[in-house]
């Protein structure tokens, strides 16, 4: 199963279509849902745009196996706002309010995969803000990092850095 997933991730198979048939670009999510978007939206996604350029615009259907149909609408929404020049603090605050930690990470990965610089910058700041006051244990869980300190090593380092452990938020477990 893991092998299948990784081979799928490392290649994109593209089917050629007639460029005159449609001006819109079809983005196909990993779970095979097609999202039709304007070419201007595709321009925001550098990865998608470079495909289109490489094939002289002949290809208009682009599979994005790593992005789910749950995440793709968020990405498209952000790109639309960005083109319209309507990215405001208020919009961004609303945008992330609906997203839990896992969703933010998924979108962060999607933005990285699609190479959308503005979204990447924005989401990295969102994640930084969310973990800034969190405990070490919380951050380990958040990033899935295994603690391979010996208890003695960790206790020693914590003692040395004791001043950084003031004002840490209590962990809330419902947020994974």
């Amino acid at each position: 199963m893991a092998e299948e997933v990784s081979s799928q991730m490392n290649s994109l198979s593209i089917s050629e279509t007639n460029p005159s048939s449609s001006a819109t670009i079809s983005l196909v999510s990993g779970d095979d849902i097609v999202f039709k978007v304007e070419p201007t939206i595709a321009k925001e996604m550098e990865t998608v745009q470079s495909f289109i350029d490489e094939t002289d615009g002949k290809i208009t259907t682009i599979p994005l196996p790593n992005i789910s149909s749950h995440d793709l609408p968020y990405v498209i929404e952000y790109c639309e706002k960005s083109i319209a020049g309507k990215i405001t603090k208020e919009f961004e605050a609303e945008f992330v309010k609906k997203l839990n930690n896992e969703e933010v990470k998924e979108l962060f990965l999607a933005a990285n995969y699609l190479n959308i610089k503005k979204l990447l910058d924005f989401l990295s700041q969102v994640i930084a803000d969310r973990i800034a006051n969190k405990s070490v244990e919380y951050v380990r869980r958040y990033f899935g990092i295994e603690n391979d300190f010996t208890p003695e090593e960790e206790a020693k380092l914590r003692e040395e850095l004791a001043w950084t452990f003031t004002g840490v938020d209590p962990d809330d477990e419902d947020e994974n």
């Binding site: 994109l12 089917s15 990993g30 990470k105 070490v136 603690n147 300190f149 090593e153 380092l157």
Partner: protein
């Protein structure tokens, strides 16, 4: 069908499979993305996260990450460091003008950051989050030893004393014409000393720990009072062929004024012309300052106005731009007339709120002037003629 092969993903990183399985397999972020996030965290947060794992500990303390973190610290976090000498102890105030009213934070409010027992009483400068301090010890008849220390208040680290003998720096006067800066080309920190009344310039590079003579200044240092750092250079205003002890407008012509710029990396001097619009020798001495990384030249105009010029592109003499011309009356200054000791300086500027902080020698308060609404507010002054840019960083000292 055309099949395009692209290696888009870092190998061996799991991507998870959408939100439906999130409770089972969390999304793992590749190292490069974690790096981006960590570089945006405040010093205290990212230092705490050294306890996450041994590899995070070595990663966060690695000079490459330290540099990345410094470069990413938002300009909004840039604070102005203010030196408030006190006979008992050295303390600092950090001002953020971006908020209105301006926020002032006294660093010693946090006891861990308190600079105690460091045997230093003078700040030479602030650079990349490091504050360079100066100290000396005396016997009954002479100064025996001088030293520098580098202090990072954010990480609460203090370097050892870098000692040298005072005969290396002769003659030495107060306030010392010392300036602290970073040489990007060799990744070292340096202190520059302008020998008073001479053209000699000396450089102390941390690591070598000895004073070296470098190329002479084009003009004597008599008038080198205000030293400002812009983009890896130290700049000061000089009056050529002028050796009087005090500034006397009647004895100076306009073409005698020149800016001398010394590059920290190449250790060479350059002369910069003053703005073409600066045509009359002002009654009181003009000054250099730095506002938002731009070199500024400010001067009195006919004792009615105060003018600030901004060099839009550093080193380009044609890029001087008159940034502010304001009447003393509009900022409620009346006692400056025929007062040859009067001086006024811009301290910092917030482009976001259009506030500029001005300080002058007549008042115990500073002036907060709003460029957009022309409003004037007096705020408490804590002795900030020396306002350095300060940014929190993870930078450590060898």
């Amino acid at each position: 069908d055309i099949v395009l092969q692209m290696n888009l993903l870092p190998p061996s990183k799991s991507w998870g499979q959408g939100h439906s399985t999130k409770s089972v397999s969390p999304n793992f972020l590749p190292e490069e993305l974690i790096t981006i996030v960590l570089s945006l965290l405040p010093v205290k947060s990212v230092t705490r996260l050294r306890c996450v794992s041994p590899s995070w500990n070595s990663f966060i303390t690695d000079p490459t990450f330290v540099k990345l973190h410094l470069s990413r610290s938002s300009p909004n976090d840039r604070l102005t460091l203010v030196y408030t000498p006190d006979c008992a102890e050295v303390s600092f105030t950090v001002i953020s003008l971006l908020q209105k009213p301006p926020i002032t934070v006294k660093i010693p409010a946090d006891p861990y950051r308190h600079l105690r027992n460091t045997d230093c009483f003078y700040i030479i400068g602030s650079c990349n989050g490091l504050i360079c301090l100066f100290g000396q010890c005396f016997t009954a008849i002479s100064c025996q030893e001088m030293w520098f220390r580098c202090w990072n208040p954010a990480t609460r680290t203090l370097s050892k004393k870098f000692r040298y003998s005072p005969d290396q720096l002769f003659p030495f006067t107060y306030p010392p014409h010392l300036v602290f800066g970073y040489d990007q080309s060799s990744n070292t920190y340096k202190v520059v000393y302008l020998v008073p009344k001479r053209k000699y310039t000396k450089v102390y590079r941390f690591g070598d720990n000895v004073w070296r003579d470098i190329q002479n200044s084009p003009v004597d240092h008599d008038y080198a009072i205000h030293l400002v750092i812009v983009r890896g250079t130290v700049n000061w205003l000089a009056i050529s062929r002028y050796s009087a002890f005090r500034y006397n407008c009647k004895a100076i012509t306009i073409d005698q004024f020149v800016i001398i710029s010394l590059d920290f990396s190449t250790e060479t001097h350059t002369q910069l012309r003053l703005p073409g619009g600066f045509k009359e020798v002002p009654f009181v001495a003009p000054n250099l300052s730095v506002l938002n990384d731009s070199l500024c030249f400010s001067h009195d105009f006919q004792q009615t106005h105060f003018i600030i010029w901004k060099m839009m592109e550093f080193g380009v003499e044609n890029s001087w731009n008159q940034f502010l011309k304001i009447s003393y009356q509009s900022i409620e200054i009346y006692d400056h007339l025929n007062n040859s000791n009067f001086h006024m300086l811009p301290v910092c500027l917030s482009e976001k709120s259009d506030n500029i902080l001005l300080t002058n020698s007549l008042e115990t308060q500073s002036i907060l002037y709003n460029l957009r609404y022309n409003t004037v507010e007096r705020i408490k002054k804590t002795g900030w003629l020396n306002g350095w840019k300060y940014v929190e960083s993870l930078v450590t000292f060898p």
